[in-house]
């Protein structure tokens, strides 16, 4: 049985008669980098608010780091760093003073190490040079970085990051990705919500997909992706002969796209063996490879094609 950093059961939040979050069972293993996906308005931020005790659940239970929310919230939160619905700071104060302010609010923070912790958090997000600037003069990405610095003010066991790369430039995005990786390597559980599927794909070991308040898929990213068929892509000038070979190898129906023959195969399909057979039959091969299903395909399949927000 894996230990869980976040566990919810039947977690529900209703606004009026709309269930923004509708009976979700999240299981986030300790040490994982957990991607929390879902289209706009699917309930990600609302879920995060409940996890952090900012909003009360209408129904259901939450456990964070093995303790009950909201009952033990004050004991839990010092171990949790978070970014919720974008960063928020006092525009008339400098970045550094904003962090000092939040640290002062934390009764459990060690006052002696405040300055050092603030400096190191600023360094970690590459904001040391802009620390003295007032926040109203910060760009969107700089505010986002400051928000991350705030989440890293203390050693944490769990990070809950709501769209951490929102507004960041490519360097910043990469830095954040590396940052999350290095934090994960330190053993910190990272729960990260995002729309950027490629980000999640590069970063996460686990994912959950939300759609209209419900979790429609959850688990290891590999398992989720493998639910979609792998494709064999074969490009050759002798398509007919090649298709005959594929049939004799027991493969299913093929599609033709230009020179390419596309066939669905098992995940552990042996390409080398097929290549050998083709070569032995003197069929020229321009290209042969397996295409792993992308997370994006799975995501669209799970949450629908439509661009309109569901509600």
């Amino acid at each position: 049985m894996v230990e869980l950093a976040i566990k919810t059961s039947q977690l529900t939040k209703r606004f009026g008669d709309q269930a923004a979050v509708d009976g979700i069972d999240l299981s986030v293993p300790k040490g994982s980098v957990f991607g929390f996906l879902g289209p706009n308005g699917s309930g990600k931020t609302t879920t995060i608010r409940m996890l952090l005790g900012l909003a009360e659940a209408t129904e259901g239970t939450i456990e964070l780091l093995g303790e009950e929310v909201p009952k033990r919230i004050e004991q839990i939160l010092p171990k949790v760093g978070a970014l919720v619905e974008g960063p928020a700071f006092y525009p008339f104060m400098s970045g550094r003073n904003n962090l000092l302010r939040i640290d002062a609010a934390d009764r459990f923070a060690d006052q002696k190490t405040t300055e050092a912790r603030v400096e190191s958090a600023l360094n970690r997000v590459g904001l040391a040079n802009a620390a003295k600037k007032k926040v109203h003069a910060y760009s969107l990405g700089m505010k986002q970085r400051l928000g991350l610095a705030n989440a890293l003010l203390k050693p944490r066991e769990l990070l809950i990051l709501d769209e951490p790369t929102n507004g960041l430039d490519p360097q910043g995005t990469r830095e954040v990705r590396n940052l999350i990786r290095s934090l994960a390597d330190e053993g910190i559980t990272v729960f990260v919500s995002s729309h950027l599927l490629s980000e999640i794909e590069m970063l996460c070991s686990h994912v959950a997909v939300m759609s209209a308040g419900k979790i429609v898929a959850q688990g290891k990213i590999e398992d989720l992706r493998n639910e979609e068929p792998t494709r064999l892509i074969l490009a050759t000038d002798e398509a007919d002969a090649a298709i005959d070979v594929l049939k004799s190898e027991g493969l299913g129906k093929s599609r033709i796209r230009g020179l390419q023959i596309i066939t669905e195969v098992e995940n552990d399909f042996d390409v080398a063996k097929l290549a050998a057979v083709l070569v032995s039959k003197n069929i020229p091969i321009r290209e042969i490879r397996l295409e792993k299903p992308s997370l994006e395909e799975k995501f669209v399949k799970l949450t629908g094609e439509g661009f309109e927000v569901v509600r």
Binding site: L54, E74, V84, G86, A88, M93
Partner: protein
């Protein structure tokens, strides 16, 4: 000692005051408060010949004879509208301002206990009121001394007190006014927990003091007058007698504590159960 400071939340209090006094708005309001006695003194100095005793607001005639009356007169002028305006701005902003900026969610997950945050916010607004009333009295004393003769002060009761004692009375009036406004600050705190739009909370808070003033001026509503938080506002004149008439200070204190208790409880009830969705 440190643990003691910690449990009292002095660090949060200090940080709260730092935020408040980093804002230009705070300094602008204090400057505007200081401007009241200054404008008053200048106006009186320019037109002193034409004012006969008994004309204009109380004390105004005395200003020309003794500059120390500037502060008291300015307080009379500032109490109905201007001081309540600054109190409305500060107390209406307490929670709604943080909610509007979104900083409240980061404070709460820092974590800071909601009750503690509420108490610190309220105390900080009292500190502002204290700063405001003292600013007014000090500015009054300075400009009065600059433009008019100063010396031992002859009070309403006809007794004369030394300059030194006059300073004591000034401090007393500033404290009295702080007490007077503390109930309104509690009302503002409660209203502030109701919204995420600080300007709305400020306006609503100012409206409550306006309504209270109006009700206090309707004779048919006599029965409720002594319950209004504005009821003793102008009675600081009682502090300018020899011996000092303490009864209005005591009644005022009791009344204001009542308002603080009621609206503090309402704010507590609202804020500790509120979903933070901003």
């Amino acid at each position: 000692m440190k643990l003691f400071a910690k449990s009292l939340g002095l660090r949060l209090m200090a940080s709260e005051l730092k935020v408040m006094f980093t804002r230009r708005r705070t300094w602008a309001m204090l400057a505007a408060i200081a401007l009241i006695p200054i404008l008053l003194a200048i106006a009186v100095a320019l037109s002193s010949e034409r004012l006969s005793p008994g004309e204009g607001p109380p004390f105004l005639a005395q200003v020309t004879q003794n500059g120390f009356f500037t502060g008291f007169t300015a307080m009379l002028l500032a109490l109905p509208l201007f001081l309540p305006l600054t109190v409305a701005v500060v107390s209406g902003d307490t929670i709604a301002g943080e909610a509007g900026l979104g900083t409240i969610r980061y404070l709460l997950i820092a974590p800071v206990n909601r009750v503690r945050l509420l108490v610190v916010k309220y105390l900080a607004s009292l500190v502002f009121i204290l700063a405001g009333t003292f600013t007014l009295m000090i500015a009054g004393a300075l400009i009065g001394a600059a433009l008019f003769p100063v010396g031992p002060v002859t009070l309403l009761s006809g007794d004369t007190i030394s300059i030194f004692e006059a300073f004591g009375r000034m401090a007393l009036v500033a404290l009295y006014t702080t007490v007077s406004l503390s109930g309104m600050a509690a009302v503002g705190l409660f209203i502030s927990t109701l919204t995420t739009v600080p300007v709305g909370a400020m306006t609503a808070t100012l409206v409550t003091s306006g309504v209270s003033n109006i009700l206090g001026n309707i004779p048919q509503l006599e029965w409720m007058h002594s319950w209004l938080f504005t009821y003793y506002w102008l009675d600081f004149a009682d502090l300018m007698r020899v011996p000092i008439e303490w009864s209005s200070l005591v009644s005022n204190l009791v009344l204001q504590l009542g308002w603080i208790a009621v609206f503090g409880a309402l704010a507590y009830g609202r804020f500790t159960t509120k979903d933070i969705l901003s």
